[in-house]
């Protein structure tokens, strides 16, 4: 695999970096302070996009896992590995930001909020996925088994979300949405796109690492053979 896409990948990263700087400035200084929450709400601009990236990572992982089971290919397996790890990275720091957000608003770091709780469960599930990958040496078995685990873990997300929401909502009412300042919306969008580009650059780089690892494991220097367990 010669690296003809290197410039595009670096460009994605650079675009992400520029947007991250702009987004940080917008989030920290440009967007108005919230009418009631003051400046604390600015955490949202880093927390929410990170959580979105985790969900996107989980979804890509699910698609790659299904694709692998339908038609075995190292590309699908590597994409699954990359998306799980990158999504996990965004999820872990996003969860920490969620706790930082909870302290000044709810008074505690952890309030068993349905969103945060579901995300915590999701992260533990994907940590299990990554651990499983590390514990199986045979690349083909690893690919099949982790694809099964990835599909099962992803199907769990909506069930976890409903269960935690019911578990909590029996105590508290859901609040009614209000109008938000349009500048806040724009700042959130800029930050979301910034993270999307960073996410893609990370995903791509991690995918190349995974492909290189497969090559080394199979000890096939140039021609990367397809998995033999292809008969679905």
């Amino acid at each position: 695999m010669d690296d003809k896409w290197r410039n595009l990948r670096l460009g994605l990263g650079a675009l992400g970096l520029i947007l991250v700087v702009v987004g940080a400035w917008m989030g920290l200084f440009w967007a108005p302070a919230d009418r009631e929450m003051g400046d604390v709400y600015r955490i949202i601009y880093t927390h929410v996009p990170a959580m979105w990236m985790t969900l996107i990572g989980g979804f890509i992982n699910f698609v790659a896992c299904v694709a692998y089971l339908i038609r075995a290919s190292w590309k699908a397996d590597s994409l699954a590995e990359a998306s799980a790890e990158v999504g996990l990275m965004f999820g872990v720091y996003g969860l920490v930001l969620g706790m930082l957000w909870g302290k000044p608003t709810w008074g505690v770091y952890w309030d068993w909020d349905p969103r945060l709780t579901s995300m915590a469960v999701l992260l533990v599930a994907y940590m299990g996925y990554m651990t499983l990958r590390r514990f199986i040496e045979d690349p083909e078995k690893r690919a099949v088994w982790s694809a099964v685990v990835g599909i099962i873990a992803f199907m769990d997300i909506p069930i976890v979300w409903f269960s935690v929401r019911w578990w909590r909502s029996l105590h508290q009412e859901q609040s009614t949405p209000q109008t938000v300042h349009p500048d806040m919306t724009l700042a959130l969008r800029v930050n979301a796109f910034a993270l999307l580009f960073v996410f893609l650059a990370f995903l791509w780089s991690r995918y190349r690492i995974a492909m290189a690892n497969r090559k080394e494991e199979l000890a096939l220097p140039e021609a990367l053979g397809e998995p033999t367990a292809a008969a679905g």
């Binding site: 089971l69 469960v121 533990v124 599930a125 940590m127 299990g128 996925y129 651990t131 499983l132 514990f135 199986i136 040496e137 078995k141 099949v144 088994w145 694809a147 099964v148 685990v149 599909i151 099962i152 873990a153 199907m155 769990d156 069930i159 976890v160 409903f162 269960s163 935690v164 019911w166 578990w167 029996l170 367990a229």
Partner: protein, 228 residues
Amino acid sequence: MNAPGLLRTTWILLRKDLLLEWRTRARLNALIFFALATLLLFSFALGPDTTLLARHGGGYLWLALLFASVLSLGESFRVEQENLCLDGLRLSPTDPQAIFLSKALGNALLLVFLGLTLLPVMIAIYGIELKMGLAPLLGILTLGCTALSAPGVVYSAIANHARAKDVLLPLLLFPLVIPALLAAVKATTLVLQGDPMAQLGSWVGLLSAFNLIYWGLGLVLFPRVIED
């Protein structure tokens, strides 16, 4: 692979597993004592506060069952691996879906049996009372145990071949079954303490949906797990 063939194979395999379980009763006994010890330890962790113990009895029952299920699930494929029995079964050739169904049903049966043994002990040491009678509790116990065992069998077949399998199975299984556990605990608590706000239905619905999804996924995915 027509349906009667699948069901018949499942029945034969299930009978084989249950017979094996019965002939080596020591393992079953060990499992029961493990679950009993877990129940006892919860009361020590909480102190001798009977009202508190009674209120959280449902949670302790399910945690004890969950811990026991990890042991029984790990065993159910270790047994098959000992003399390459699983390979023999696959070559015979047995429908892999029948292997999944028999293993999952066998584990669910074992867990229901375990739950029924724990129940009188809980009534005695936690001081709980059955506000809604035994029948709904039995239903929830069955639904909860099948919910634990369907994904459990898939994961245990995977973990059994990996390194550090004793760590891997709970690491994979515990986060997955959180919604099932939540629903089972809530439903059990409602049955034990009465259900003034009629919330039981939604939890039973959630538990049933979990069962439906993971028994379906297991049937589809398990053959891929044990293929060679």
